[in-house]
Amino acid sequence: MNPRVSLCLSLYRRLANAYPHEFRILHGEDLERLGEDAVPEAWRRYGVFGLLRLLADIALRLPGEYLTEIRQDVVYARRVLAKAPGFTAVAVLSLGVGIGMCCAVLSECQAIVGPAPGLRDPATLATFIWTQVSYPYFERYRNERQTVAAAAAVLGPVPFAVAFTGDQSARAERVSGHLVSPEYFTTLGVTPAAGRVFGPETEKPGMAPVVVVSDRFWRTHLGADQHAVGRTLRLNGSMSTIVGIGPKDFLGVWPQSPADLFVPVTCCVSLAPELSGDPLHRSDREIFRVVFRLAHGVTMPAAEAGLDAMTRNIDQETGTRHDRDRKGRVVRLMPAGTVGYATPEQHALVDTFNVVLWALVLSLVCANLAGLLLARGSQRRREIAIRLSVGASRARLVRQFLTESVLLSFAGGLAGIVLAYWITNVLSSLPLPSQIPLEFNCQIDLHVIAITLAIALAAGIGFGLAPALSSTRTDIGVTLKEGAQAPLRGYRRFGLRNLFVVGQMAASLMLLLVTWFVALAFLSTTRMDTGAEVANLNLVSFDPVRDGYSAERVAALVTNLPDEIARVDGVRAVALTGSAVSSHGDATHVSAPAGDGKAGQVLISAYRERIGANYFATLGVPLLGGREFDLRDREQDAPGSKGVPARPAILNQTAARTLFGAGDPIGRRIREGERNYTVVGLARNMRAGFLVTKPVATVFLPLAAEWLGKSAAQRVTVLVRATAGRDTMAAVRDRMASLHPDLTAFDVHTMQEDLDRMNSLTQWTSAMYVILGFFALLLASIGLGGVTAYAVVRRRKEIGIRMALGARAGQVQGLVLREGMALVVVGSVLGVSGAFALARVFSAYSDVLARTFGQRDSNPLLIVGAPLVLAALAMLACYLPARRATKIDPVSALREE
């Protein structure tokens, strides 16, 4: 034979043999025989081309045949799954909830530590952890070219009262923005969609005010006007020209606290009251955050070392005193360019806690799915045996089983994505407990969906394979003869399935305990405990500085406002305050001469709150001692000097105890910043704020007009205690509008709404964790139930014999339950110890978690209760198959022998 023909024939045979098993059973020999005729004929008629054409035909048809079989598999799998709706629903639901939760958690992480949109190469951006610096310091950093390629200073978010110049009658609207150094956009690598961005050449002091607006602002406030560049806006009463529009999605360097307006720091003070007091030339005004673009090839630790050395140098040169710990690094770096200002602590939280939880949930779901598939495989032994005996190959059956599990995974994956969409939508729409605008834009991106589907697929294949292999390893003759039941086999204490169940119980319990620790701790530590009489307490905010008031008018307003509002019909009490409830946003240091005859000073860090007269009375929280601020305190509101008596201050219990021990604080002197104060009152601890576990030292200082306009103070809030059953606030607003037509009242709400807003996030988060815990419980029960049912099916004959020999129903039930119980006990012990170990590991990683887990000792109920609940559910899951075992008819069971 011609060597080409024989080569072609051998290739032809190989390809024919590669066709699917069933095709070969039907046409394999025939196809091969045909080749023996067709190959020489093709050579005779068409030569080499004919041989190639023939080989191409058989090779190209090969994948098509496999695809046809896979399609058949899918159709069959769909039919099989539709016939077992209970099994399908449980599998899809458990996969869906597991994957949905994981997907949501991943998206949540992305929403905090993911890269911020609109920035070039965000991985090389860095910023100082917590440290804010003065502008002269920033200029030194910026001019250092070895470690950093560029640097920008940011002050913000700051509010701007925006009025559109075309519309005189419209009231000003508060819009959040950033005050930025001219290098801001070039450092971040942001190119404008229209117009220009700032630069050191264009932005110089004394130039006409300019502003760059975000794409979002351009769309929502400027009607996507194509000629918006060049238009003017009235910002805080000053006219500013729009010189550029930012790129799509760009909302500043940390979009979690978004900025829509960008104003250069070189602008005048009237445009940005935060810049009063010449902070650009003072080393003591540490109000700027610096964003560095690291030089090419410089790592974060190297940059940190360089900047640390530099900061020490500048400290020495300028002689600025800082309360810095000089032993370690004086400044530390962390990555910028993320959506939120996420500290390494938050990163650790995201990276470890959530990912471990996530892995735990997924492994639970997968173990559960595997258990279900195994149990189901054992019920389908007869079907498998019949298919094997009529010629199906084992590979084909394995593929069939895999198709079913992959189909389940995909359905679960889709259900998961729908669930994740829902969760993230709810999360994004939750109001956040903050006075500054915060946005939590939790969206599922394509990466997360791809990862989720890949995980679902891997779970389907990985956990479908073992049951498929084990189910198809069956002796056809024996199975067909014996019916659906397996041959009699003893109970194996350390069988793979039992290990599965123990592992699942342990993992579920760990998940349950860890999530409930967190949930309970969240609930107990974040519940607002202001002690205030919340009913009929209303809040309204003003910002006279940004409404263009002069310093004198602001002072007059702060003095007269309480009286003006108090005269409105229905108002029972009025007080001014810097923030509605303790915001813990303004940290300071307070010192006092050491008591008990000791020399020196006691220095503590405390939060500073600015309040007006009658604050505690209006809140309905009586002081523990001393008096409140009153009108006299306002009159003494002049800069402190030696001749003038010290200003009054009120301490809370914690601050008083740390400063003065058990002694009476009233009348004692304290020093805050550059000023001396006399303690006139003692307030009880009010726990407020987010994730605060213990009361923090707080010093209350009188609200002064001069203080308004500083960067931390962006508003003055009026607390109004109203009479029940009347719309007092409408009357208050009318009165304000008639007395001060140019003053914008904003953020009008009730104290209850404020508290609800604070609590909603924690409640929701806690609810998520509780649901996750319940879900783990449910999964474990389903898994245990499935495995027990499987064991009962496998031991049908043994039970039949026992019953034939006189075993009573109770004894049979006891037998099944005892075995289930042993698994539950072992699983519970492992689970509880695992949960404690896990809590310890997490606590080592994260301070927040350490605090939450620290509370677990106060929850003995949980530690005893959770395993009990789990055990009870598990026993119920065992009981149902156990009861079924007693219904086995010994005669029919034995007849099958």
Binding site: F23, L26, E29, L31, L34, D57, I58
Partner: protein, 117 residues
Amino acid sequence: MTQKDAAAFLPLHNNWFHILLSLAGAEQHGYGIMQEVLDRTNGTVRLWPATLYGSLKRLIGDGLIEESDERPVAELDDARRRYYRLTRLGRAVLELECARMQEMVRMVRRKRRQEAW
């Protein structure tokens, strides 16, 4: 199988038509079908082996042809070959397809006459 079911297969795929036509007279094995189609079409239609068996598998699946259990005399038989024949449905489909084609040819002729191509 009703007449309506047979109509569902129309218009018939070219390969299917040739296979059915080859089996209309007598039972055939795969190579026989291949050769007959080649001869009948003067070499213009060639059913390559995998294409042929792919079509045969589908025709069997759809019930248009079936495997025949009658074998030729022993000296002419090759045990590895399989023989196929038309089912009643297959014959009905072939008849319908032929009628459809004849109708089309008639239409073309009528058109030619009317418009004098």
